[in-house]
Amino acid sequence: MKILIAEDDLTSRMVLGAVLTKWGYEVTSTTNGDEALAVLQQGDAPQLAMLDWEMPGLDGVTLCRELRRQKSEKPLYLILLTSRADSNDIVRGLEAGADDYVAKPYNNEELQARINAGRRIIELQNQVRNREKLQGVLEMAGAVCHEINQPLQAVSGWVELLLMDMEPKDSNHEALSNIKEGMDRIGALTQKIMAISKYRTKEYMDGRRMIIDIDQSSTH
């Protein structure tokens, strides 16, 4: 899983980064709030971010507030790192949109436990999103395929009728056979689409758009 760190102190950043990497996470380090914001706005941004409270420029709390204001579609779990243990400050942090906080100096076990809690939440949110996406896909697929299958049956069937009466050596036989083959392929495609049971995507053309990977998503 990818984790973003926003920490202006060099040593703290290195230590935290090393610990997270040791635990198997893919770490993106940033030194201030603006940098962190930029990274988190990208398409493949980490879903868990550890933000130092005190940073020059955009501080951790303000960053949380800004991230929540932007209401990203993808779930984002924010952990504030703070030496402030005052209850008021904790409330401020959570109200600003942080999901949790870790008091500095932190012990590794607690850090790991809180990150695991964040992972559970992220996993749950991703599952719900995927289920909703899949539901949307299925609803669209059902409607579209039904609409397509009707005229497809007409075209496919009438070509089949024509071919029944035709000798293979007839000059139109090849053309009609090709039409029939094209229709059969469309028919196989609608069957696959109607058997979609998972939400799997793949890159499309320039790689900037994602489309459903019909083969991977279908149980056919």
Partner: protein, 127 residues
Amino acid sequence: MKKRILVVDDEKQIRDLYSQAFSKAGYSVTVAESAEEALEIVDRKPFWVLFLDLNLPGMNGAELCREIRNRHPMSIPIAVTGYASLFELTDCRDAGFEDYFTKPASLNDLVQAAEYAFKKLERWRKR
């Protein structure tokens, strides 16, 4: 005397298509564009082999199948549908369908299904 088939589909293109396919194979075909019309027809004279679209206006194909089986338990209704994911095979069997095809169906397959259905009827009548 020719064996008779009833085709029920709300789209004329499909009715004409199946009609031609079954006629070519030697059957006498009657068509209906709704479940209600189909029931009027079978009440006048029974049809033993029927091809029903599931997605009909008014009463749907599954209910039609139940109605027909109630009136003529020996009849063999066969479902042909474009809505494959909404009406699963088990739902069709529950409704009383003998078999189930998804559109686009090969005409050859449908004709073979009709042949098989009539063979079954012959075998049942001989007992």
